[in-house]
């Protein structure tokens, strides 16, 4: 038992050392971890929330007074600019050629009081997602005034009009009337902050410690590699959570909000914590056998950028082709992004989601920790 106790005491010593080094350089460290995600949030988020006159095409299959009034409403705002009211085929051709970013199909049942189901279909090209994002949220807001429900999907491969009962189409995550693309992005940016933070915190320090000889200095003490890994895992995790706090504050200043309130913020921290644990361990496992920072940077990017992109951080999973959706489903980051998005946009975090997401993320952290133990050698 003494052994296990010492393992944790030593892990805490390593953790303290990492945090002291981090603290002594806190401004540079924070800037390094935050700059890229914040640029994305500020530029893309604002693109989404302020870009106006997004070209759209409308296919009015309902052609009733309500649908005409809906189109008038859209026209009277500057958020979107209706380029054509036409049939499906030419609208889809326009979308394909990029002359419009969104195609809106108003289903025949639009405005009918009996219809509580789908009545507007949105198609957008994923290459125009940032512009389409603001249009989508605006259209959504207007549609909700008409009691209409929106079905969205990326049109990249599919140019056929779905039937009203088609189950192949999926709802885009832009739910909630206040949702903007910026808020949609915040969850993805938080995920990115965690990944960047852990890559700089965990694995990076393993390599610099090895280069500077500190690792050798640790190895000649009785400290075990388990303690070194745990210390670095938790310091990388704490650093990532600190970055999340800073990012959330900035997002709030930019006008984002958390629909679930204070409890939601606590859940976001908990989610960030478990996802950061797993990615810290991943970064240490990647660095375990590397000597050059440059090589580590490349390998870390090769692992983390696809995981980040495919997590639905940047564009909804519903807009991905099937093979990407498979990766999306096994990507641990997906579960964190979905959780944070539900908390921020839907204002709820149901128990079923909590159970699924936390077990996936904790499982990921444990698997990564075991891989670390296997790949990390306490010899030089």
């Amino acid at each position: 038992m003494m052994g296990i106790e010492n393992t944790f005491i030593d892990a805490y010593t390593i953790f303290r050392r990492e945090m002291l080094v981090f603290k002594s350089n806190i401004r540079a460290n924070t800037a390094r971890a935050l700059i890229f995600p914040l640029i994305i949030l500020i530029f893309f988020g604002n693109l989404g929330s302020t870009s106006s006159n997004v070209p759209i095409a409308v296919v009015n299959l309902a052609n009733n007074p309500q649908s005409l009034q809906f189109i008038n409403t859209l026209e009277s705002h500057s958020a979107v600019s209706i380029k054509a009211i036409t049939n499906e085929n030419s609208a889809m051709t326009m979308l394909g050629s990029g002359s419009v970013y969104v195609v809106l199909v108003i289903a025949p049942d639009f405005g009918s009081p009996s219809s509580s189901a789908t009545s507007i279909y949105e198609y957008y090209s994923s290459s125009d997602i940032t512009d389409a994002g603001s249009a989508l949220s605006f259209i959504q807001l207007q549609a909700s005034n008409f009691g209409a429900h929106i079905i969205s999907r990326s049109s990249v491969q599919s140019l056929s009009l779905p039937s009203a009962t088609s189950s192949a189409v999926k709802e885009v995550s832009l739910s909630g009337t206040k949702a903007s693309y910026e808020e949609f992005l915040v969850a993805g940016v938080l995920a990115m902050i965690v990944v960047f933070g852990t890559m700089f915190g965990g694995g990076f320090s393993v390599i610099t410690d090895r280069q500077l000889g500190t690792m050798k200095a640790f190895f000649i003490t009785p400290v075990t590699k388990t303690s070194i890994i745990l210390g670095k895992m938790f310091s990388g995790t704490l650093q990532a959570v600190l970055y999340v706090i800073v990012t959330l504050i900035i997002a709030f200043m930019l006008g984002s909000s958390v629909a679930m309130g204070i409890i939601g913020i606590v859940w976001i921290f908990l989610l960030s914590f478990v996802v950061a644990l797993g990615f810290s361990a991943l970064s240490i496992a990647l660095a375990a056998n590397l000597k050059k920072v440059e090589l580590y940077a490349i390998i870390a990017n090769v692992f983390t950028l696809p995981l980040w992109f495919l997590s639905g951080a940047f564009f909804p999973a519903s807009s991905m082709p099937a093979w990407m959706r498979v990766i999306n489903a096994v990507d641990p980051l997906t579960y964190a992004v979905n959780g944070i998005r539900s908390i921020m946009l839907n204002g709820t975090y149901p128990l079923s989601m909590i159970a699924l997401q936390f077990s996936v993320l904790i499982g990921f952290a444990i698997v990564m920790f075991v891989i670390c133990l296997k790949s990390f050698k306490n010899t030089i």
Binding site: N6, I9, D10, T13, R16, R17, L20, V21, S24, N25, L212, G213, T214, K216, A217, F218, F219, I220, T221, P222, V223, N378, T379, I380
Partner: protein, 327 residues
């Protein structure tokens, strides 16, 4: 005296390259044991294997009678080590640097031990300054007291003075001698003959991963000769002529080394003046000539066929440059 470290025929291969090629030696309790050899001789590799942080390809190492891998934890508590490169956390204060390692060794009263170490290192006034702001000598002292924070019985120093200026080097020598006086067994590696000569009770001369000779400084010097050494430095092109004269006319056993000719000789001024006269008669340009007691450099030349300094390449190239300028 009892052997505290026994190194038995250790070999280390990196791929096809053999960095350490069957080294055997023992270190006695309380002595300063020197491993002397040029850059790339395999000193650090051997040390890393003794520390257990590099696995041997074959061979075994016993420390205080225990296998160094099987009893790693006990042995790690017993050994202190200072790396060839100075390793301190530049961003942390001297105090924190020491505190972290005191904690890793589970030292009871951390604060008093750290303060004691700072005093030993002459760093009390800089306890709360970042180590990165220290001079090279101060960082080295911090590194030394850090490696001794757990008061080890054995201290291993890998090139403790390489890169230090003369003042700091002499200071480091004093510290090492004081440690030995207090009963600490010290193993140090060095490229400096004077260092090994001044400091070490026994010296292993190592080159290309092999021990060429082992003994006290005077034992090693006797390997060369009981007599003194004639040392003539001349033009490279004249080396052969000098050798020929010395061996034919004076029946001396010469060794040649680029621009230098050495031979064991009786310390006899009359003989020396005869040699000078003969060389002058033959119109040989002499840069320097003298007789001295054997040095470790002579031992090294005899054992490896080249001077330690020549192996390092520095003095040799300097001399060549100066002579070329003269032409």
């Amino acid at each position: 005296m009892e052997d505290i470290i026994k190194v038995n025929n250790i070999i280390k291969k990196f791929g096809n390259f053999t960095a350490v090629d069957g080294i055997t030696f023992s270190v006695k309790k309380g002595e300063i044991f020197g491993i002397l050899g040029p850059n790339g001789a395999g000193k650090t590799t051997a040390i890393n294997m003794i520390l257990g942080i590099l696995r041997v390809t074959s061979g075994s190492i016993l420390i205080d009678g225990m296998d160094n891998i099987k009893h790693a934890t006990e042995i790690k508590n017993m050994i202190g080590f200072m790396t060839q490169e100075t390793v301190v956390d530049a961003e942390l204060t001297a105090y924190k640097n020491l505190e972290i390692f005191a904690d890793l060794y589970h030292i009871k009263d951390v604060d008093s031990r750290v303060m004691e170490s700072l005093r030993d290192g002459g760093l009390t006034d800089f306890a709360n300054s970042k180590a990165g702001s220290f001079s090279g000598g101060m960082q080295r002292r911090l590194n030394l007291v850090k490696s001794m924070i757990h008061q080890p019985k054995i201290l291993i120093l890998d090139e403790p003075t390489t890169g230090l200026d003369v003042q700091n080097r002499v200071d480091m020598w004093k510290r090492i001698k004081a440690l030995a006086k207090n009963g600490v067994t010290v193993i140090l590696t060095t490229q400096y003959l004077e260092e090994a000569d001044q400091l070490c009770n026994r010296i292993a001369i190592i080159d290309h991963g092999k021990i060429k000779a082992l003994g006290t400084a005077s034992e090693l010097k006797k390997l060369v000769s009981n007599e003194s050494i004639l040392d003539i430095v001349t033009d490279e092109s004249s080396v052969n002529k000098v050798s020929a004269i010395l061996s034919k006319e004076f029946k001396l056993q010469v060794t040649e080394n680029i621009d230098r000719v050495n031979a064991p000789i009786k310390a006899d001024i009359a003989l020396l003046s005869k040699i000078i006269a003969s060389l002058t008669k033959n119109k040989i340009q002499i840069i320097s000539i003298g007789i001295h007691l054997p040095t470790l450099d002579d031992v090294f030349i005899k054992l490896t066929g080249s001077g330690l300094r020549d192996a390092l390449g520095e003095q040799q190239s300097n001399r060549a440059r100066i002579m070329n300028m003269g032409r």
